[in-house]
C-alpha cells in the first residue's frame, strides 16, 4: 500500500503541489487580514473566533477545490488518457490501486486543511499585536480549544472532497470535476455561515456529516465492483 502511495506521489509529482499549498495559505491570510485592517476603526472582527470563522470558511472552500484538482489529476485523467488500462495490467489488485489514489486525495485535503489552520493560528498569534487585526487579545488556550473541531472539520471536508468524483467520472471530465467542487464548496460553507449561531451550529454538524458520508460512499462505490468492469 505504501509503495502504491509512493508511486502515485512520484508519478504525479505531488511535491510540486506544496508550493500551491503555501501560496493558498498566504493568499487566504492576506485576504482576511486586508479586510480586518481595511475596515479601520469600525472593526470587522471583534475577536479571535470571529476572525477565524471567516478564515475557516475560506480554507474549506479553497482546499475542497484544490483537492478536486488533485482528484482529477489522479483519477479522472488516468481514465481519460486511458493510462488506467496500463495500470490494470500490473500484477496489482485493482481495488488497491484506486483505494491508494482516493486515500491520497482524502489525505491531501485533510492535512492541507490542518496545516493551513495551524499556520493561520501562528500568523494570527504573532501578527495580531502588530497589525491589530481585532480588538480582543488572543489566548493560547483559546487556540488550543479549537484543535478538536479543526480535526473533525478537516475530516469532514476530506470526505466531501470525494463527491466531485461522481460528477467527474460520468464523462471522464476534468472540467466537471472541478466545477462540481466549486459548487459544493460554496454550497456547504454558505449553509454554515448562515443564520445566527445556535441554528448554524446544528447545521454545522449535520450537513457536513451527511456530505462527508456521501463522499465516502461515492469513493467506495467507485471501486467496489471495479474487478468486474470492462475497460474498452
Amino acid at each position: 500500500m505504501l509503495k502504491l502511495l509512493r508511486l502515485e506521489w512520484k508519478k504525479n509529482s505531488m511535491s510540486s503541489y506544496f508550493k500551491g499549498l503555501i501560496i493558498c495559505i498566504i493568499g487566504i491570510f492576506a485576504a482576511v487580514a486586508l479586510m480586518a485592517v481595511g475596515s479601520g476603526d469600525e472593526k470587522m472582527f471583534l475577536d479571535y473566533t470571529d476572525f477565524m470563522s471567516l478564515t475557516n470558511i475560506l480554507i474549506r472552500i479553497v482546499f475542497i477545490i484544490f483537492s478536486s484538482v488533485i482528484l482529477s489529476r489522479l483519477v479522472i485523467e488516468e481514465y481519460k488518457n486511458k493510462t488506467v488500462q496500463l495500470l490494470f495490467t500490473y500484477p496489482l489488485k485493482r481495488k488497491r490501486i484506486i483505494f491508494a489514489k482516493l486515500s491520497l486525495v482524502f489525505g491531501f485535503c485533510f492535512f492541507s486543511i490542518i496545516i493551513a489552520t495551524f499556520m493561520m493560528n501562528i500568523a494570527v498569534y504573532f501578527l495580531n499585536p502588530m497589525m491589530n487585526l481585532f480588538e480582543a487579545p488572543v489566548e493560547i488556550l483559546e487556540m488550543v480549544a479549537t484543535i478538536p473541531s479543526t480535526f473533525i472539520n478537516a475530516f469532514m471536508m476530506a470526505g466531501v472532497s470525494l463527491i466531485p468524483l461522481y460528477f467527474g467520472m460520468r464523462k471522464k471530465s476534468t472540467a466537471s470535476t472541478i466545477t462540481s467542487a466549486v459548487l459544493i464548496g460554496f454550497l456547504i460553507n454558505a449553509t454554515v455561515s448562515n443564520g445566527d449561531t445556535s441554528t448554524s451550529l446544528s447545521q454545522f454538524i449535520i450537513v457536513p456529516t451527511i456530505m462527508c458520508l456521501l463522499g465516502l460512499v461515492i469513493g467506495y462505490l467507485s471501486y467496489y465492483k471495479i474487478d468486474k468492469v470492462d475497460l474498452t
Binding site: 508519478k11 486511458k82 488500462q85 490494470f88 495490467t89 489488485k93 468486474k228 470492462d230 474498452t232
Partner: protein, 307 residues
C-alpha cells in the same frame, strides 16, 4: 510442447452483440502466434480478455496452466503488453515512464531500462518528455516497456503501426531475437499480413469474432508451395509422358485438363517441349504461388478453394 495460452469456447458480447464467439486457441511456448483479422474482427478484445481488462461472457482462459478469473492479477507479472495505442504519462520522460513501469511490476534494475531503450533505438532521447514524442517513437517506447521487465509472454496489438520501414525491420528482428534467445512466447496481431507471414510460427485467422482457422505456418507453406499449372487436353496422357521422360514424381491432377507440377528443377520450356513432342496440346502453362495474404482473403471471403 507446453501450451502457454489456452482459450476454450471464449465468448464476449457487448450489449447483446457478440464480438467474440466460441473461440478456441492454443499458443505454444516459445512460438510467435500471429493474429490476422480485419478491423473489428475481435483481435483486440481477445487480447484484452487475456489481460483481464475485458471480462469474458463465457468460456475459459488459461495462462501458464492457471485459469483466469475476474479477480486474477498475479499472472500479469509474466506478461508484457501493448494494447491499441501506447499510452504513457505525458509529463514524465521516457526513462521515468519505464522506471515507473518496473516499480509497478516489482522488478527494478537500472540496467534493464537502459538496455530496453537501446534495443528499440531510443537511447539519446530518454530524457525527453513523452508529449514531444512522435507516434513511431511512442510505439518503440511501448515495445521497450513491454519487454523491460523480461516477461514470459508478450502480447502485442498492432505493434508496428506508425513505424517506418526501418523500424518495422528492427521490430521484426527484435521479436525473432526474443523468441530464439529468450524463449519468449509472443502473441502478435497486425493487419499487415506480410509481416505476420515473415515471423509467425502459427497463425490464427479471425473473422467477425470467430476463429476461422488456426494453422501452423509451415503447413501453409507446404500447402502453398510454388507450382506450375499446365492446361492440357489429356491429363492422363500428359502425366504418363512427364513421368517417363522427365522423371517427375510430385504432381497433382486437378481435373482432366489441368495438372500441377511441384518440382522446381525442371524448366517450363523443357516440359512444354516434351509435351508437344508427344502430341499433347498445351493450352497454357503458368507459374503460380499463393501467399498468406491470398490464403487469408480466401478464408475470410468464405472461399473454400485454397491452393
Amino acid at each position: 510442447m507446453e501450451t502457454v495460452i489456452q482459450i476454450h469456447q471464449l465468448t464476449k458480447s457487448f450489449k447483446g452483440v457478440e464480438t467474440v464467439s466460441n473461440v478456441n486457441m492454443n499458443v505454444k511456448k516459445g512460438e510467435i502466434y500471429g493474429f490476422l483479422g480485419s478491423n473489428g474482427a475481435g483481435k483486440t478484445t481477445i487480447m484484452k480478455m487475456i489481460l483481464n481488462l475485458v471480462k469474458p461472457t463465457s468460456g475459459e482462459i488459461k495462462i501458464l496452466n492457471q485459469t483466469i478469473s475476474t479477480t486474477s492479477y498475479q499472472y500479469l507479472s509474466k506478461i508484457g503488453s501493448i494494447i491499441e495505442y501506447p499510452e504513457f504519462y505525458d509529463r514524465l520522460t521516457a526513462k521515468e515512464n519505464l522506471e515507473l513501469h518496473c516499480e509497478y511490476i516489482g522488478v527494478y534494475e537500472k540496467v534493464a531500462t537502459e538496455e530496453a531503450l537501446r534495443i528499440v533505438g531510443l537511447n539519446g532521447v530518454e530524457h525527453k518528455k513523452i508529449h514531444e514524442f512522435s507516434l513511431g517513437m511512442k510505439q518503440r517506447l511501448g515495445i521497450a516497456r513491454a519487454i523491460v521487465a523480461k516477461p514470459e509472454i508478450l502480447i502485442l496489438d498492432e505493434p508496428i503501426n506508425g513505424l517506418d520501414p526501418l523500424g518495422i525491420k528492427d521490430i521484426r528482428e527484435l521479436l525473432l531475437h526474443l523468441k530464439e534467445k529468450l524463449g519468449i512466447t509472443i502473441l502478435i496481431s497486425s493487419h499487415i499480413v506480410s509481416e505476420i507471414e515473415s515471423i509467425a510460427d502459427t497463425i490464427g485467422i479471425l473473422h467477425h469474432g470467430e476463429l476461422l482457422k488456426e494453422v501452423r505456418m509451415d503447413v501453409i507453406r507446404k500447402e502453398n508451395m510454388e507450382y506450375l499449372e499446365i492446361k492440357i487436353d489429356d491429363a492422363k496422357k500428359a502425366i504418363h509422358v512427364l513421368e517417363n521422360k522427365l522423371g517427375i514424381r510430385k504432381y497433382e491432377i486437378v481435373n482432366q485438363h489441368c495438372i500441377r507440377i511441384f518440382e522446381h528443377d525442371i524448366s517450363q520450356s523443357q516440359i512444354n517441349k516434351e509435351l508437344i513432342l508427344n502430341n499433347i496440346a498445351v493450352n497454357g502453362i503458368e507459374k503460380q504461388q499463393q501467399h498468406l495474404e491470398e490464403y487469408f482473403l480466401n478464408l475470410i471471403n468464405g472461399g473454400n478453394q485454397i491452393a
